[in-house]
Point group: C2
Chain length 104, copies 2
DNA sequence: TTGACATGCAACCATTTGGTTGCCTATCAT
DNA sequence: ATGATAGGCAACCAAATGGTTGCATGTCAA
């Protein structure tokens, strides 16, 4: 889980995921096109995404195809984000709670 | 958006959000309790969370109260994660597409 | 007023991170 | 076979990150 969050923390990596979302199964060089980065930099980013299981790859001849794996993203939505979407007591009611605790 | 992702990338910060989710409106010292970190380290983390609008604070006398703001988390769920939850063409169909492109 | 408590500020440090360059290997097409 | 193409590996670098320690300030209570 931590690896996924860390992988998502970088804007370049998120944009790589966007690119794969737009067109899945691209090669390294395809993913490099138009990017202000070296191929090696992209390779590193993809390695991090792969380590987080956000991207799966396999080789086809001399090319390496990159596929988006949406499962970890989905899991973050399910297991983490949902938790914060309910049960939001308002700041005011919490302040009230706090003041009462203080006076006790 | 980037600030939010970066803020969420650290496990210590996520656990601070968890703590606030469990009990909103805590002081700095309360948030430090039981943590294997200096108070100053926690202060820095909270500053990052605050910069990302994930936490709101205000002072009450000599104490600083910390409140969770779930809005940015919600937005990431809405604007970013949802996008990847649909439209997942299978790897196989994409491979097919690729091979056809190759033969053309 | 004075000590204790809650927090803030700043300098410093080691490690990680995002990126580079240079070179090597493998595969395809001619 | 041989050149061009796709990718891999490793060393190196600057900047960011996560943490520390030491000291200063502000506020409360006796």
């Amino acid at each position: 889980m931590d690896e996924v969050f860390k992988a998502l923390a970088d804007a370049s990596r998120r944009s790589l995921l966007d690119r794969l979302h737009a067109s899945n199964g691209q090669t390294l060089n395809e993913l490099c096109e138009g990017l202000a980065m070296t191929r090696q930099a992209v390779t590193k980013h993809l390695a991090i995404l792969e380590a987080a299981s956000l991207v799966t790859t396999f080789r086809q001849g001399r090319e390496k195809l990159h596929y988006l794996n949406p499962v970890p993203i989905h899991q973050i939505g399910e297991r983490w984000i949902r938790k914060f979407e309910r049960g939001r007591l308002t700041a005011l009611s919490e302040l009230k709670r706090r003041l009462e605790k203080r006076d006790a």
